[in-house]
């Protein structure tokens, strides 16, 4: 499965030092995003490993494989939808006249 594109790292530079307070909300959000991606990756790997074990006849049960695969797929779909909502919310905000 293709890894979804991660968020762009926040800009650091001369602005960085005095504005730790300003950057922590975006830092907090970014880490949430990264954890979500890691979670999806993790489920995907678990599912893949389960499949390999099943194919090699190593005692993995079919229903476990099926559930693990479904979980990974759902997590990925959910992630995509959340990301899309975030992006469109961002775009809406950017369109607002101040």
């Amino acid at each position: 499965m293709v890894s979804p594109v991660g968020p762009i790292a926040p800009v650091t530079g001369p602005v960085a030092a005095p504005s730790t307070a300003a950057s922590s909300p975006s830092g907090g959000f970014q880490s949430v995003f990264e954890r979500a991606i890691a979670g999806v990756e993790n489920l995907q790997q678990t599912a893949d490993q389960g499949i390999e074990r099943f194919l090699a006849g190593e005692g993995e049960e079919l229903h476990s494989v099926a559930m693990a695969t479904q979980k990974a797929e759902l997590a990925f779909e959910l992630f995509l939808q959340v990301r899309n909502k975030v992006v469109s919310a961002y775009q809406e905000i950017m369109r607002m006249q101040i």
Partner: protein, 112 residues
């Protein structure tokens, strides 16, 4: 683009198709004098433990030979017909899921 799992699934399906072909041969020769049941060593072939690029047919041991020299056991072949078919379906469904996931990533979930 697809995970290595997809390659394993494909190989699994390859082996199952070959195995089914051999089962069909065994069934067709259920009454041929001197004919011995053939199969592939599925696990070894799948794990790549068998040397050489070609799959190898092996004679199945442990089957009773009748007075004609034939050792085909229809019950065994019928069981394998069903088992191979089901395993093939499982692998196909999983492989389809892999392809589907990539498609979804490409389309970005539809509303992106």
């Amino acid at each position: 683009m697809l995970d290595p799992v997809a390659r394993s699934l494909e190989r699994y399906m390859d082996l199952l198709a070959t195995r089914q072909k051999l089962v069909a041969s065994n069934i067709a020769n259920a009454e041929t004098p001197g004919y011995r049941t053939v199969d592939i060593d599925f696990e070894s072939e799948f794990r790549g433990l068998v040397a050489g690029g070609q799959l190898r047919a092996v004679e199945v041991s442990g089957l009773e030979v009748n007075h004609d020299g034939n050792n085909v056991n229809l019950d065994r072949e019928a069981r394998l017909l069903a088992e191979n078919g089901l395993r093939f379906q499982v692998a196909e469904a999983l492989l389809k899921g892999q392809v589907q996931a990539v498609r979804e990533a490409i389309s970005g979930g539809g509303s992106g």
